[in-house]
């Protein structure tokens, strides 16, 4: 078995993860989660259920479009696709994330308190 996930998800990062994942292809909720798990090597703790309110909220905001379709094995599933507005939001979230981690890195790398 793979090691248990040990990183708690920071507030507000789930949107970024979902938008980025869906930027590759339309997927249903479970596939989004599996993709996140695989690419982050199962290090992030995502409360699985929390994914769905997030998906529907982003659909409401027009960042995602949902449509019922069928999986490869012929089961009905709800697929989500990134809209143009969603792509713009992804860019904003990526910028925000980059600035955030830069700021934290500045503090971590600082050489002690200045007088």
């Amino acid at each position: 078995m793979t090691p248990a996930p040990d990183l708690e998800l920071l507030r507000g990062t789930l949107d970024l993860l979902v938008l980025k994942t869906l930027s590759w292809a339309p997927m249903h909720g479970l596939a989004v989660l599996q993709w996140i798990e695989r690419t982050t090597q199962r290090r992030l703790q995502v409360e699985e259920g929390a994914l769905y309110p997030a998906l529907h909220r982003m659909e409401d905001k027009g960042w995602l479009e949902a449509q019922w379709g069928h999986t490869e094995r012929g089961r009905p599933a709800k697929f989500y696709r990134l809209t143009a507005a969603g792509r713009r939001q992804l860019t904003r979230e990526l910028t925000k994330w980059a600035r955030y981690s830069e700021a934290v890195a500045l503090l971590i790398d600082a050489d002690g308190a200045q007088p």
Binding site: G29, L33, E48, G49, Y52, H56, D60, W68, R75
Partner: protein
């Protein structure tokens, strides 16, 4: 046609999305997730019962999540319905304006006809209203007259009347049963 074509049909006929429909969609979506997880875990060697327990544990509070997603969906649908209705209204209005503006002569005939018809109806109703439907609330309303005075050659009835003029009329006029004064004023009702 499968049941999954319904959303499109619904949009076509503009029927409102029912709460029951939203609920069954949400249920189906969440169950698909849990069912998929159970299969994954069983492939790793868990029994069905263990797999189901583990899948539900990882999913979290099902009831809470279900009701939150339903609430979000209902809000989305409501907003979408309102938006579609407004768009239809705007389209109809734009179409009307476009058609009327390409046929200016016809449009002006329509406008003039409507204006005359409305004016005629209003005047006739006003007269009928006063004479037949709602005569003045006094005995013998047909004997009541409005008395005023005008400057020679200036036109228009003067509204102002001095107390002395009134008492002169009151004491000397012999063709009337009685005389009274009326005073009108403007008042703003409501806010603003």
């Amino acid at each position: 046609m499968s049941a999954r074509d319904w959303p499109r049909l619904r949009r076509l006929f503009r029927l409102p999305t029912t709460a029951a429909r939203v609920r069954s969609d949400v249920d189906q979506e969440l169950h698909f997730h849990i069912e998929g997880r159970i299969e994954e875990l069983m492939a790793l060697g868990l029994t069905r019962a263990d797999a189901e327990r583990e899948a539900r544990r990882r999913f979290g509070d099902y009831r809470r999540i279900e009701s939150e997603v339903e609430r979000l969906d209902l809000a989305t649908h409501r907003r979408r319905d309102v938006r579609e209705r407004l768009e239809a209204l705007r389209a109809d209005f734009a179409y009307t304006v476009r058609v009327l503006s390409t046929q200016a002569v016809f449009s002006s005939v329509v406008v003039v006809t409507l204006t005359l018809a409305i004016a005629a109806t209003t005047s006739i109703f006003h007269a009928v209203d006063r004479v037949v439907l709602n005569p003045l609330p006094y005995p013998a309303p047909d004997r009541i007259v409005y008395l005023g005075w005008r400057w020679a050659g200036k036109g228009g009835i003067a509204d102002a009347l001095s107390p002395r003029s009134f008492s002169f009329w009151h004491d000397n006029a012999q063709v009337f049963d009685g005389l009274a004064t009326v005073r009108s004023f403007e008042a703003v009702l409501g806010e603003g």
